[in-house]
């Protein structure tokens, strides 16, 4: 029986050596929130799709656990699988997604300016910024959004994020720079506040 006090490495060893299902369920329980929230961000808030991709992520992790070399953290490895699953899915849905997203953003924009004009308490302001940020993130390219999410949301270093996204560090920095330029334009109203 897998104990909660065991480290990720010990649980992984149990799964690889003895196909210990309890150990794997403990790993899923530990990391499900981080993987699912990351995928929710990557999918611009599509919870159902995010959970499907999260399930796919853990299935792939289970199948490939023996190849996990423990050079990176287990969570970083999971982020990599999750990001790849999302990118593969996004490629499939690209045209449909772009069309829907543009329409949503156009609709949302008309509502958000009204909120800004009203102002309000700090919590309201924070929630409003969070919503604006989510909308602004939706206009980023897949690679730019993934770079921002890995570096800021998952708090990975540039090297770790580059590893997750399977690209050179220089490319990752370019994605971040471009993403910030787009976000700056998109969130310009907040710069003046």
């Amino acid at each position: 029986m897998a104990e909660p006090s065991l480290s990720d490495a010990e649980l992984i060893a149990r799964v690889v050596v003895g196909d210990d299902r309890h150990a794997f369920s403990e790993l899923v329980r530990r990391h499900q929130s981080a993987v699912r929230t990351t995928l929710r961000r990557l999918t611009s808030g599509n919870h159902a799709l995010a959970d499907d991709l999260a399930q796919e992520t853990f299935m792939l992790a289970y199948r490939n656990l023996a190849s996990f070399r423990q050079e990176a953290k287990f969570s970083t490895w999971l982020y990599r699988i999750a990001t790849n699953a999302w990118l593969a899915d996004a490629r499939k849905r690209k045209e449909e997604l772009l069309g829907d997203r543009d329409a949503d953003i156009a609709d949302d924009d008309s509502a958000e300016h009204g909120d800004d004009a009203d102002g309000g308490a700090d919590a309201e302001r924070s929630a409003s910024l969070s919503m604006d940020m989510a909308r602004a993130m939706a206009v980023l390219s897949d690679a730019e959004r993934a770079a921002i999410i890995q570096c800021y949301h998952n708090d990975l270093s540039h090297e770790e994020a580059a590893q997750v996204l399977n690209c050179p560090v220089g490319t990752l920095k370019t994605h971040i720079l471009r993403a910030k330029q787009k976000l700056k334009t998109r969130l310009a109203a907040w710069a003046r506040d």
Partner: protein, 118 residues
Amino acid sequence: MNERPANSGDDWLEAALQADGQAHRAEYLDDAGFTAKVMAALPAPVALPAWRRPALTLLWALLGLSIAFALPGFVVDVVRDVLRVVLGQSVSLAGIGAAVIAMVVAAWAAAAFVLRDD
């Protein structure tokens, strides 16, 4: 993020991204059956049939008996040669003790492996 940008003109954006990231990390999604769903979707474990262990034991026993019958003098010869080699050495009491301890440890480890909790 470990690296901080040098561009102070983007401080507000940097602060907003940091705050958004912090909010993201603080967010905890309740499992709500997610783990159970994943576990249910895993391929079924390869279940070994119940007769496998007794069958293997029987096969090993048959193999041992076959060798003993096929080569009647073999076991006696092996034991005799082993004894000759051992008795030819000057074996100390400590050596015998160490050998006994090693055998006990090996037997205990084998028993622990066989009786381990799957």
